[in-house]
Symmetry: C2
Subunit: 158 residues, 2 copies
DNA sequence: AATGAAAGTGTTTATCC
DNA sequence: GGATAAACACTTTCATT
């Protein structure tokens, strides 16, 4: 049994601290980050730039509250296209702005998608086009025991 | 039929431009944002601060690449706790760092969760504790036609 | 609410280790 | 790969509208 990480980039403790801090606040100043890890600002700037270069950090973005934007509800929909409709269904899903993620998976259901809507009544309209071309199974989200979050650092070493 | 947005905060065009720009790059300078919307830096700073205050912007964070971190695979697991095991199962899921989201939903399956793993072999270990207390149904993600993204602005006006 | 100008911070570049 | 210091850029405060 190999003890090496299967893939993925080797991050040292400093990189991990920087990423952890930037997850909490992506607008942290390089100066503050530098103080946190006990290095100079230029060095930290270079580290962060490198993390972007190698693709670990894909970008700096917002955490938005769907509720505050007027989306009171989310649903998870399993979607099984009718024979011959797979490609069309996939394209259709991709045209829905309220789709917050859609994965093509192994097994009975072909797609699993998450949608946000202002109220329960909006769901039907959203899925309209889909329901002619696929069997769907909709589950309304009641609570989120684990809110959407990022993968842990240190893959395989947890 | 009421034409008002059901809930959610009223955002003007400037707010929407600022949010859109910050989604693309949360580290944009207030000066650049100001130029973008044709206002002064202090005004834009105040706008962004206000968007945080009212809870539309929950924070500034990273977009990390799970693959680059060594997670070659993700799976979506539907979890139906055995009688009397609901609370314990929920707690158990919350202790798994590789769980990137978990929702409690209506319908047959009680929880739907997303996990990331370095390789297919790691899944079994992750779900070990769960499988004694719940029926699980695992779907391996092959591709993501809609990658994880944020809700659209302008709820109900799309 | 928004602005311009000044004062205060933070970033970047260049040079060196 | 990391540090320091000077030059440059950005942010914040404040007085004003």
């Amino acid at each position: 049994m190999k003890s090496l990480q299967n893939k993925g980039v080797a991050l040292d403790g400093v990189d991990e601290k920087l990423i952890a801090a930037l997850i909490k606040n992506a607008r942290s100043s390089m100066r503050d980050l530098a103080a946190l890890v006990g290095m100079s600002a230029p060095s930290v700037t270079e580290r962060v730039r490198r993390l972007e270069d190698i693709g670990v950090i894909r970008g700096f973005t917002l955490d938005l509250d769907p509720q505050a934007l007027g989306y009171a509800l989310q649903a998870i929909v399993r979607i099984k296209p009718l024979p011959g409709q797979l490609k069309k269904v996939e394209t259709l899903i991709q045209t829905i702005p309220e789709c917050m993620e859609c994965d093509k998976v192994t097994g009975e259901d072909c797609f699993i998608a998450r949608f946000c809507v202002p109220e329960i009544g909006s769901l039907d309209g959203l899925l309209e086009g889909l329901e002619a071309r696929a069997e769907t199974n909709t589950a309304i989200i009641k609570t989120s025991p684990v809110p959407r979050r990022l993968p842990p650092l240190q893959a395989g070493r947890s």
